[in-house]
Amino acid sequence: MNAGRAAGVIAAIGAIAAALVLPRLIYSVLALDILLWGLFAVSVDLLLGFAGLLSFGHAAFWGAGGYTAAIIAKQLSLPFPLAAAAGVVVAMALAVPLGYLAIRRRGIYFAMVTLAFAQMLFYVANEWRDLTGGENGVQGVPKLFPGLSVSRSIDFYYAALPLVLLGYVIAWRIVRSPFGHVLVAIRDNEPRAQALGYPVRRYKLVGFVLSAGIAGLAGSLYAIGHAFASLDLLHWTTSGQAVVMTVLGGIGTLWGSVLGAAVVLFLRDWLSGSFAEASGVVTGAILIVIVLAFRRGLMPALAVAGGLLVERGRRARVPSERGVPGS
């Protein structure tokens, strides 16, 4: 076992330990929110950091997963892991046509296309009242598990934790796999990847669908955890929030997204107690500061501080600072 690998194992054990004690340190609803928004932001980073695709419409998959899981858990009284699995399947199935269309454009147009499709889903959910409950949403979603009572939020936290960690492991595996390396190659130089014989579009589409599945998993557990699926899940600010967390944590760092989620949620939690609910002003201001002054994000800064930089720092790349085609 070399030093890098050992450090990785220690970091993984540390992360799991942290996830286990987190609800003892802060209240368990916030703890679950951090893990799930973190997973959601990781799915955004998977595309942005490793395929160079800024999805501004990931709420589509977070919301599709959330609504599916909520409706299934409520109508069929299924255990929550099955409801979440259904959410993942629907999110991925939805991502196939949307991704197929969206990857026909690049860069800023890709962001606009994904944003527009997510908004379309928002309108559909708003109109399709029989299924989604329209503005009332799907309320009173049960948390079920055979032989166990998981309805208290702290119990649900631990019951959902294995699934959440599975989501993180899958994201990590994708990035580390040969597939992930090809995505990075496409990000860095698409014509070259194509010339090397990689079916570039198919890679992007598979990346998009996998990312949507992870977002769908996070959204499913979020809806079940809050016992509620509403139009907020599909709102454009939800997509934007995930992007803010990713950029704050550091594009292309994967775990930075979790850190970004924690910072944003703590700030909002703290502010909502002290003065008027001003989450938009806070999130917007964070984003402006990050873009202007701190584009690499928190994670690389922390890594430098911790002296862990060596390998990760080289990997953690922001989209080229100059406009390079295909970046």
Partner: protein, 291 residues
């Protein structure tokens, strides 16, 4: 199918199209020179409507002077934003400009929500345009006809300036071949602030126009901007005429969709976008792929 209703919907579509055209026109001009897709365009539209509303409420300024004053005032906000914020990201990947203006949108929209609440405020239609005009089969509100005509006039004037004047030549060259334009010794940067202010003023003007028809509310801009993005994907940001034509065409198509089923109206916009992506991924009027 009722012919009167269809006629009505075609005109409603032209009204919606008038807003898409004005907004995507502004986006195209700004993108051309700044290489920034201005997410905050919807927020400036909203600020324009609020400026007209507040001018009327606090200073008794009517609709007609507001059509001049509100865009000027919002353009000043735009100039400040350009000088303080946007200026710093021109050299970066366009994604950063998008993120920056998204952040600005959140701040502006939420600040207005905290100050004025979410409830929409009514704004009176100007007296001169109060009644309706007979179109033969149906009567149509005079104000809405004015919106169509006014937007067409502004669009054509902008098109004229950009296609037929020296100022426009520079802007056009900067839109189509920014690097070559710079290489020919034209300082694209000098035009930046002015062009951004113009684009923002156009957005604010659309907001003033919208005020008597739609409630003035902090959220009015975000829906407008997302639909406008779909229009921009359809028409492309590379051509002024394309922005205008796509704007009106999408507006009419969406309203005709509403004839079939009212719930379809906005969804048609996205369906058209999907078809265009499938058939002509670069957009109807061949746009430049940004990095």
């Amino acid at each position: 199918m009722d012919l009167g209703y269809v006629t009505l919907q075609v005109f409603n579509g032209l009204v919606n199209g008038a807003f898409y055209a004005l907004l995507s026109l502004g986006l195209a001009v700004i993108f051309g020179v700044l290489r920034v897709v201005n997410f905050a365009h919807g927020a400036f539209y909203m600020l324009g409507a609020f400026a007209a509303y507040l001018l009327g409420l606090d200073a008794g300024v009517g609709f007609w002077p507001a059509m001049l004053l509100a865009p000027l005032g919002v353009a000043v906000v735009g100039v400040v934003a350009e000088r303080l914020l946007l200026r710093r990201v021109y050299r970066l990947d366009p994604l950063y400009g998008f993120l920056l203006t998204f952040g600005l949108t959140l701040v502006l929209q939420d600040a207005m929500r905290i100050r004025f609440g979410l409830q929409g405020q009514p704004y009176a239609t100007p007296d001169q345009l109060g009644g309706s005009v007979s179109l033969g089969i149906v009567a149509y509100p005079a104000y809405r006809l004015f919106v169509i005509a006014f937007s067409l006039a502004v669009s054509l004037a902008t098109w004229y300036v950009i296609e037929r004047t020296r100022l426009g030549m520079v802007v056009r060259a900067a839109i189509e071949r920014p690097d070559l334009t710079r290489a020919l010794g034209i300082e694209v940067g000098r035009w930046v602030t002015g062009v951004f202010a113009f684009g923002v003023a156009l957005a604010a003007l659309s907001g003033v126009l919208a005020a008597p028809m739609r409630n003035v509310s902090p959220l009015m801009g975000s829906e407008a901007i997302i639909l406008t993005f779909a229009v921009v994907v359809i028409g492309g940001l590379g051509s002024i005429a394309g922005a205008i034509v796509a704007g009106f065409a999408v507006g009419v198509l969406a309203s005709l969709g509403a004839v079939v089923n009212p719930a379809l109206e906005n969804i048609v916009v996205f369906a058209v976008m999907a078809v265009v992506l499938l058939v002509r991924p670069a957009g109807l009027f061949g746009s430049i792929e940004s990095a």
